[in-house]
C-alpha cells in the first residue's frame, strides 16, 4: 500500500526513505524523483499550486496502486505540495523501493508520468510582470503512450 501525502509543508528525502525502508532487507533498490520550482530567466517570484481537495489524494492513491500491480514494489511514497512556493523549492516527491533497480526505476517514471497528466493540480506563476497559469505540455500527454501494454 502506497503512502500518499498532499501537504503545504516541505519534506526531507532521507527521512522519507528511512520511514519507508525501515529494516526491510529484501530492498535492494531505492529510486527517488523530486520535482522543484524552476525559474527560467530569473523572473519568477513565486509559484502557487492549486489542487482539488477530496480528489487529489484519491487520484494519487489510484495511480500508485496501478504501479504496485505492475511492478514488484516493496514500498511506494508520493508527496505533493500545494500553496505558494519559491523558486528552487520542492514540489513533488516519489519514492519506489524494490529488490532490483529496473522495477524501482520504471515504477517511479510511471508514477511521475501519470501524476503529471492526472493528479488535479494547477500551477500559477507570479513573475515581476504578471501572473499566469502554466500551460499543460503535449509531451506530458505523449509520455503516457509508452506505458501502454
Amino acid at each position: 500500500m502506497a503512502s500518499i501525502s498532499v501537504q503545504s509543508n516541505d519534506f526531507d528525502i532521507s527521512e522519507e526513505i528511512a520511514a519507508l525502508k525501515k529494516d526491510n532487507n529484501d530492498v535492494g533498490a531505492i529510486v527517488t524523483f523530486t520535482g522543484t520550482v524552476r525559474d527560467i530567466g530569473g523572473t519568477l517570484r513565486t509559484m502557487t499550486l492549486e489542487h482539488y481537495p477530496g480528489m487529489t489524494e484519491k487520484e494519487l492513491a489510484r495511480i500508485a496502486s496501478v504501479a504496485e500491480e505492475r511492478w514488484p514494489l516493496l514500498g511506494c511514497r508520493v508527496i505533493h505540495r500545494y500553496g505558494t512556493l519559491k523558486p528552487g523549492e520542492n514540489i513533488v516527491l516519489v519514492i519506489t523501493l524494490s529488490a532490483h533497480r529496473e522495477a524501482a526505476f520504471k515504477a517511479a517514471e510511471f508514477l511521475m508520468d501519470f501524476l503529471k497528466s492526472n493528479a488535479p493540480f494547477w500551477k500559477k506563476e507570479q513573475t515581476n510582470e504578471d501572473n499566469r497559469w502554466v500551460a499543460s505540455k503535449q509531451s506530458d500527454a505523449s509520455a503516457l503512450d509508452r506505458w501502454k501494454k
Binding site: G35, L49, E50, H51, Y52, G54, M55, K58, E59, H80, I91, V92, M112, L115, K116, S117, N118, A119, P120, F121, W122, K123, K124, W133, V134, A135, S136
Partner: protein, 83 residues
C-alpha cells in the same frame, strides 16, 4: 448537483463552487457544459474551448459523454499541470 471549478476556469466563471438541480435537458457531462454555458457570459467564455475542459465526476476523471446524476459532484477544470 454540486459544480466545482478550478484554475483559470474558476477565475473565468468567477466562482469556485455552485449548486443546481439537474435540469431536464441534462443527461451527460456534455449536456451540463452546454447548460452552464448559458448561465452567464462569464460561464460561456470560460467553458467555450471544450478540448481544454476536463471533468471529474465524484472525484474520478470522466469523458464528456458520461451520464451524470443529480447527486453528483462535478468538477470542471483545465488540463492539470502539477508534478
Amino acid at each position: 448537483m454540486i459544480i466545482k471549478y478550478f484554475s483559470w476556469i474558476r477565475e473565468g466563471v468567477g466562482t469556485a463552487e455552485e449548486s443546481l438541480a439537474k435540469p431536464g435537458s441534462v443527461t451527460t457531462v456534455s449536456d451540463l457544459l452546454d447548460h452552464l454555458s448559458g448561465v452567464s457570459e462569464q460561464h460561456s467564455v470560460a467553458l467555450k474551448e471544450r478540448v481544454f475542459i476536463k471533468v471529474a465526476v465524484n472525484h474520478v476523471h470522466v469523458r464528456h459523454d458520461t451520464v451524470i446524476g443529480d447527486g453528483d459532484e462535478i468538477a470542471i477544470f483545465p488540463p492539470v499541470t502539477g508534478g
